[in-house]
């Protein structure tokens, strides 16, 4: 024992005397370099096109320096203001100076937009006062208020104080139908202005429904695929994969042709006599349209993981269950179904996560109440240009997805997932 321990203390060396560990590292160096160089292009691409943009956009959700960078003087004053007392002369003076510069630099529009996000209806207040800023004389408090009485409103100043903070939870508060105020902290938004939370719930509900429908429709198909003889199942597989080879837009517009009030399905229903000509079903441009089209489009994502799991279940399990006295139904429920749980989990998670981020289909066939949160994110990215709010909404969605992964891992185990 003692001998072997003393031997262990000496580092093991290769035949030429170099330590074995070093020698091994040298020997493996080339293969490591090759492995890294194979992965590197994709890694760089993913970093540049995926990871960095996500981080940058997420950062915008909590950081916005539009106001502070264009109104340096006012920002300084707002920082020390307590948000409760009436704004003093110095603050009004700083406001006038900054508005004047902003008008000259043509940045006033951005400032106005930024404050308007925080306190709607103040956009013109800024632009009009900026136009007059040059002519204003001291005492500035009186002259500014004279141009527009709103400047006397402390809420405007509180909104400016909030917007002057670069690092702000205000966008997340908005995204959750709340407001972050200078004097009260977080308060919830007026009832008639609350839209996002409801939209999040609707997104979850529609995604859940789509997932459930996909499972319901996909499970028997996957079972057939896994159990039919190869020739037949190949044909069926092609039919399952066919949608993948067709453009998303084509599939979505095909549903418009089918579901619209003068469309194929309604015509058929009228012809058969299920409904009257003047009482056609509205199957599209509402939630029904979104659910139908999304279920169709996401179905393969449910079928394929289910199929790959079912393919690995030998038929002898069912036979064993039957020989042990279980009816076909019982054998299916007690023996077959539990073994497909990894596939149900993988397919369900995949469809759900794809669904909550779905954008084009609801935009085309969703109408008013078939819109999802992603359509709102797109609206803020493209129309209202409130990227910070879009980032906050996206951040919440991302957190939701991660939460789902976590829950899935806890309940089923992520290593149980089989995608193909």
């Amino acid at each position: 024992m003692v001998d072997s321990q003393t031997v262990q203390l000496e580092p093991i060396t290769a035949a030429d005397g170099t330590p074995l560990k070093k020698k091994l590292a040298q020997a493996l160096f080339r293969s490591r370099v090759r492995a890294v160089s194979l992965v590197l292009p994709l890694f760089a691409f993913v970093m540049a096109s995926f990871v960095i943009p996500i981080i940058a956009l997420m950062w915008q959700g909590v950081y916005n320096d539009t106001f502070s960078s264009y109104t340096p003087n006012l920002t300084e004053k707002l920082k020390v203001w307590d948000g409760m007392s009436q704004p003093d002369e110095a603050m009004y003076a700083a406001l006038v100076v900054d508005l004047e510069t902003a008008r000259a630099d043509r940045t006033i529009g951005r400032i106005a937009t930024r404050v308007n996000q925080e306190y709607p209806g103040t956009r013109s207040l800024f632009t009009s006062t900026a136009r007059k800023a040059k002519k204003l004389k001291a005492p500035f408090k009186d002259s500014v208020i004279k141009t527009n009485k709103k400047w006397d409103n402390i809420e405007v100043w509180r909104a400016m104080k909030i917007t002057s903070q670069d690092l702000t939870p205000a966008f997340y508060a908005t995204a959750l139908d709340g407001r972050y105020t200078a004097n009260q902290g977080f308060v919830s938004q007026d009832e008639n202005r609350q839209i996002y939370v409801q939209l999040f719930w609707r997104t979850m509900m529609i995604s859940g429904t789509v997932m459930g429908l996909c499972l319901l429709l996909g499970y028997p198909v996957a079972y057939l695929l896994a159990t039919l003889p190869l020739r037949t199942s190949n044909l069926l597989m092609i039919m399952v994969l066919l949608p993948f080879w067709t453009s998303l837009l084509v599939r979505t517009t095909a549903w418009i042709a089918l579901l619209q009030s003068q469309g194929v399905i309604n015509d058929l229903l009228v012809y058969v006599g299920i409904t009257a000509d003047d009482a056609r079903f509205s199957l599209i441009y509402n939630m029904t349209g979104t659910i139908v089209a999304m279920t169709h489009i996401l179905l393969p994502f449910m079928i394929l993981p289910l199929y790959s799991v079912m393919k690995t279940i030998p038929p002898s399990y069912m036979r064993a269950a039957r020989s042990l006295g279980a009816t076909p139904t019982k054998a299916f429920i007690k023996v077959y179904m539990p073994q497909t749980i990894p596939g149900i989990g993988a397919g369900g998670l995949l469809v759900f996560i794809l669904a909550i981020g779905y954008y084009i289909t609801p935009a085309l066939v969703g109408g008013q109440d078939g819109q999802l949160i992603s359509n709102m994110i797109a609206y803020h990215m493209q129309k209202s240009l409130n990227w910070s709010l879009a980032a906050a909404l996206g951040g919440i969605l991302l957190a939701g997805v991660l939460l789902l992964y976590w829950a899935y891992d806890r309940v089923i185990g992520i290593d149980n997932m089989k995608l193909g």
Partner: protein, 367 residues
């Protein structure tokens, strides 16, 4: 009511075809007595597993009747047949523990919980696996899974247990051990067992009777001794144990002894078992251990010139590959006795056999 002598399982003129063009099982007639251990033995594709699956109810017979306990069961679904079955890959439910696997057949029969518990423990005790009750099948070795599969097929006290090559996946030593264990369980419980295998030594070890299948037909149905000692045709002689086959033409038959001219021109005598008229072709079969090796010709037995091609020393016997009557794959097992003839490669000898030890069978071109 079932009479004492009535067969427990009975195949009556059963045929099976999968594609409507070829018959996998051709006119099967087989009676199995209650408490019997019957093995269906044959090469792959011989129809033996199909027969088992028809008996279990997973395949339907294309023609004919299968009776269990005097009742036709063609139209009874598998779960109502009450037949225990052990599968080749065990088919233990991977999401259930050993205990749950064993309780499954009892639970589907709606047996009270306490009784289920007792039965599961009793059957686990029988296969000496009581300590593994809470394990998942994946945590068990092949042999252990095999025992559990066996226990699960027995736990609901079926009168008939089917086994489809249950030992195929085990290593040699474990397989032999399990053979004895299954044999003992069969003897203790008195259940009827229908066992399918392609391993002839397994069949010989365990069975009361063996049905040798080939080409969808039972070639011979007999107890192990008869099957080995008195094969009815060339296929059985070839498939069970080792044998030397020689082709020839029948020249005359008298008192069950046929005189056959081999293709090499030598004339030998053999027991006429399964031959046609004089002039027809025949396959002669003689076991390697029944050959008599001597240095000179003998009048009492048929003898042939032989030359030793290869010697393999196996301890208890010496295996000689010889060139006999134009066939250099002729095997003779020479017992390792003290009076050994100086066997050496290239030596010329005489080999012969008693007339009864060489069986003249149907003609079959060797492959």
């Amino acid at each position: 009511m079932l009479q004492a002598n009535d067969p427990f399982v009975s195949f009556k003129g059963v045929q099976k075809s999968y594609d409507g063009e070829t018959l996998v099982v051709k006119n099967l007639n087989l009676d199995i007595a209650s408490g019997e251990f019957l093995t269906m033995l044959g090469p792959s594709g011989s129809g033996k597993t199909t027969c088992l699956m028809m008996l279990a109810g997973f395949e339907t017979a294309t023609h004919g009747d299968i009776e269990l306990g005097g009742r036709p069961i063609n139209n009874i679904p598998p779960h109502k047949r009450g037949i225990g079955m052990v599968f080749q890959n065990y088919a233990l439910f991977p999401h259930m523990t050993v205990g749950e696997n064993l309780a499954f057949p009892l639970n589907v029969r709606k047996m009270p919980k306490a009784e289920v518990e007792d039965k599961v423990r009793a059957v686990l005790d029988m296969v000496q696996m009581l300590n593994f009750i809470d394990r998942k099948p994946a945590q068990l070795s092949g042999g252990q899974q095999q025992r559990i599969a066996l226990a699960r097929a027995l736990v609901f006290n079926p009168e008939l247990v089917l086994m489809d090559e249950p030992l195929g996946a085990l290593d040699k030593q474990l397989r032999e051990h399990m053979q004895y264990e299954i044999k003992h369980i069969h003897e203790n419980l008195g259940v009827t067992v229908v066992y399918v295998t392609h391993d002839q030594s397994e069949a010989l070890t365990m069975s009361n009777r063996i049905a040798v299948f080939d080409d969808g037909i039972i070639q011979q149905l007999a107890d192990p001794v008869t099957l080995y000692e008195k094969p009815e045709n060339a296929f059985v002689a070839q498939f069970i144990g080792e044998n030397n086959q020689m082709l020839g033409t029948v020249q005359s038959v008298s008192k069950n002894i046929a005189t056959v001219m081999l293709d090499s021109g030598d004339i030998v005598k053999a027991l006429a078992v399964n031959i046609g008229a004089v002039g027809s072709r025949t396959t002669l079969s003689v076991r390697p251990e029944r050959c008599i090796v001597s240095t000179k010709k003998s009048a009492a037995v048929s003898t042939l010139d032989a030359r030793i091609e290869e010697l393999i020393y196996l301890g208890d016997h010496i295996r000689c590959r010889m060139d006999v009557a134009g066939d250099d794959q002729f095997i003779v097992k020479v017992p390792n006795t003290s009076g050994q003839l100086g066997l050496e490669i290239g030596a010329s000898l005489q080999i012969g056999w008693k007339n009864d030890d060489c069986r003249a069978l149907d003609f079959k071109q060797p492959v």
